[in-house]
């Protein structure tokens, strides 16, 4: 399957909040604690919320803190990721999320 959708360009950042659909019960707690109303309830009841206004996210993490199921993750934009060094070995690591190598 190749993509060809009738859509505008993605907003930046567009991956600020992601959900694990296996864990999310669609309770919308995250929707109701978000100061910026970034999230909207899914039109399909019981499903994870829609990240409607990702560009308005303040990255405060209230959605992650208050999620009863640990289903919600905050992802810093690509230009906000930092590295560190393991003192003993000199190896370099970086901020990464579960899909990364």
């Amino acid at each position: 399957m190749y993509n060809a959708y009738f859509l505008p360009s993605p907003m930046t950042p567009n991956e600020c909040i992601t959900f694990d659909p296996e864990k999310c019960i669609g309770c919308n707690t995250c929707v109701d604690v978000c100061r910026c109303d970034v999230l909207m309830p899914n039109p399909e009841k019981g499903k994870e919320p829609i990240v409607m206004y990702p560009d308005e996210c303040w990255f405060c993490g209230a959605c992650v803190s208050d999620c009863p199921k640990g289903a919600c993750r905050l992802n810093h934009p690509v230009n906000q990721r930092i590295a560190w060094k393991r003192k003993e070995t000199g190896e370099i690591f970086r901020v990464k999320y579960s899909y990364m190598k």
Partner: protein, 659 residues
């Protein structure tokens, strides 16, 4: 047809909340609190405890709203705790700083610890009850209180339960029967007979989910909104968490409502240069100051950069990094730019030159591996794990990525040697010019706001201010303390007056203004106008200002209001809230330029260079206040330290504290 219009017509999904534009909800109370952050929550609770019927409104969700919504790691000014070596009266300096409201600071010092005890009584941990830090040099063994930075004078508390601050306050507000309105953006203050300058008797609001209209009648109103931000730089799109430190809902709503009602404002032109999106998430890059004290900094080759005390003596132990000088009453973050009396130990003063000579090589790293275990756990757990903008964004993100503070060294962001050599938090990148010329912002610390008296009453009867809304004032514990104090004063005053009828004409006019944006099908979206306003502020109210340039700026702002803003469109109640934010920022822009224009002097304290008035006017002996009367701007002078007319801080506090 633009794509939004296309989607409006074709989308199969409806707005998820019931929409009822224009529908009126009328509510009545003794004390109305506008903004439910720290100041507002403490104000509401303390007004209710005085017997007042209280309503709180907030644009966001009160349970997590405000700058401290997701937590606070340290709590300043706890001068009345049994551990503090100094009292609030010890900390008053003579002659003082006219641009820092001494009376509000005094209230902060008198009630910061009381506010912490209040939080404890609602169920938030303020002590190391679990004995996780037993024997640590920053812990008082008797009270189990823990302190940050200055381990000798002990007046900045570390809060082991800080992350739960707002949920705990929210629960208490519910218990007290306080009526809370989430997602209701307050749009205007109602005044007696609808007249500018009249007694404030309530407010109007709009719900940003349903579009419904609210009319609140109140005997006293407290403004506890945030400072106006993002006036020069509004790049939501690429900068993420680094955008700004404050809550993005801070559009200056309080200042604008007060201005339109006729209240006096001052110091509205206080600005500083900022990063224009060059920041990293707060506290997320290697650093040794503030929360990261006393972390070691090593260079790319592993060489440690020495620390020195305020007199330039090299420090040989980690312990000395939290030690004040002989007779020193307090230490403040910010390195060598801090006055000597408050200067803290920091990295060597000639670091810049030693980077330039090649002695130290970038990138640098914050190394906590060799810190005493309790210091490492204090920085990475107790502190970063309770501060709102770091618990999930920094600690959870780094831990989930495999960072281990016992083994790993966090990289500092790479900046010019001149900046690396300054003792600023490096993630902040608040280096003049680094974001480009003319990128400024209203001051997060000590910015402008409302003129208030010893009761925290503004120049309008019935209107009070707390926290960031007070001119020249900021800080979390200060917000809590002044919230308590304003709440009590507003409640006592409400007990002495009758509720006045609201002006239907004033309400009708406000409804017309608010709902115009949702009656159009096509037009400008809020963001394009906001970017346009930022360009005006950059060009006409930037690093260098002059009369002609600022007059041109005001002309542009008026023109944008009459043209682009008059043709702005909101697709739904959320969008409506955003366009009302833009409308407010436009008004704040006008106030900022007007204040800067009428100052007729350069002002290092306000961060203003006037090319046409180069001389420093900071010691003129008065504040310049602004207000509106019959729609015209009135500029007046108010003597420095006007609050001292009431006598000493101790006398005036006792007279007005309502305890």
């Amino acid at each position: 047809m633009d794509f939004r219009r296309f989607l409006m017509e074709k989308t199969q999904f409806k707005w998820p909340y019931p929409v009822n534009y224009e529908k009126e909800n009328r509510e009545e109370c003794d004390v109305l609190v506008v903004g439910g952050g720290l100041a507002g929550a403490f104000a509401a609770i303390n007004a209710a405890k005085k017997g007042a019927r209280v309503i709180v409104t907030d644009k966001g969700a009160i349970v997590r709203s405000g700058c401290a919504g997701t937590g606070i790691d340290h709590w300043g000014n706890a001068f009345t705790s049994p551990c503090s070596t100094n009292t609030p009266d010890d900390m008053l300096t003579s002659p003082g700083d006219p641009y820092s409201p001494e009376f509000a600071r005094y209230i902060g010092m008198k009630e910061s610890y009381e506010a912490a005890l209040e939080l404890e009584s609602y169920g938030m941990a303020i002590r190391d009850e679990k004995d996780e830090f037993k024997g640590a040099p920053f812990r008082d063994e008797e009270t189990k209180l823990m302190f940050a930075y200055d381990y000798k004078n002990k007046h900045t508390l570390r809060l082991p339960g800080g992350e739960q601050m707002k949920p705990v306050l929210y629960k208490e507000m519910k218990r007290l029967g306080i009526k809370m309105f989430d997602r209701v953006m307050t749009t205007s203050l109602l005044t007696e007979d609808g007249k500018q300058g009249g007694r404030v008797i309530g407010a109007t609001g709009v719900n940003t989910r349903t579009g419904e209209f609210y009319v609140f009648s109140a005997k006293s109103t407290i403004l506890s909104t945030g400072k106006p931000l993002r006036l020069w730089d509004f790049a939501t799109e690429l900068v993420g968490s680094n955008a700004h430190h404050d809550d993005p809902n801070s559009a200056g709503d309080g200042d604008v409502m007060a201005w339109r009602a006729g209240a006096k404002l001052m110091m509205m032109d206080r600005t500083h240069s900022t990063s224009a999106g060059r920041r990293y998430p707060a506290y997320m890059t290697g650093n040794m100051d503030n929360t990261w004290r006393p972390a070691s900094i090593v260079d790319a080759t592993g060489k440690e950069i020495p620390w020195e005390d305020r007199d330039g003596n090299i420090l040989t132990s980690v312990e000395e990094r939290n030690k004040v000088g002989e007779g020193q009453k307090m230490m403040s973050a910010g390195g060598s730019k801090v006055p000597y009396a408050m200067r803290a130990p920091t990295l060597i003063h000639d670091l810049q030159q030693r980077i330039e000579s090649g002695e130290y090589k970038m990138p640098f790293y914050a190394d906590m591996t060799n810190l005493p275990d309790e210091e490492r756990r204090a920085v990475f757990g107790l502190m970063l794990g309770n501060e709102g903008k770091t618990k999930v964004p920094v600690v959870e993100t780094l831990r989930n990525s495999g960072f281990d503070p016992e083994k790993d060294m966090l990289q500092a962001n790479v900046l010019p040697p001149e900046y690396m050599g300054k003792d600023e938090p490096w993630w902040d990148v608040k280096y003049p010019g680094i974001g480009g010329p003319n990128i400024r912002d209203t001051s997060f610390i000590g910015g402008g706001g409302l003129v208030v008296d010893w009761s925290l009453k503004t120049s309008l009867d019935g209107l009070y201010a707390a926290g960031n809304q007070i001119a020249g004032f900021s800080g979390a514990s200060n917000a809590a303390a002044t919230g308590r104090y304003a709440g009590r004063n507003a409640a006592v005053a409400a007990g002495k007056v009758e509720q006045l009828p609201v002006s239907e004409e004033q309400i009708a006019e406000e409804k017309k203004r608010v709902y115009a944006f949702v009656q159009r099908q096509e037009g400008y979206g809020w963001k394009e106008i906001q970017f346009g306003l930022c360009r005006i502020m950059q060009d006409y109210c930037g690093d260098y200002r002059s009369g002609e340039v600022m007059e041109m700026g005001l002309w542009w702002l008026n023109s944008i209001r009459e043209n682009e803003l008059a043709n702005a469109v909101a697709a739904n109640p959320h969008d409506l809230g955003k366009i009302l934010d833009v409308d407010n920022r436009l008004t704040v822009d006008q106030i900022v330029i007007t204040q800067s224009l009428s100052r007729k002097a350069s002002s290092p304290r306000m961060g203003t260079v006037r090319l046409d008035y180069p001389e420093n006017g900071d010691n003129c002996g008065y504040y310049q206040t602004l207000r509106q009367e019959n729609g015209e701007t009135v500029v007046e002078e108010l003597p420095f330290y006007y609050w001292r007319e009431e006598g000493s801080c101790r006398e005036a506090y006792e007279k007005h504290c309502c305890l």
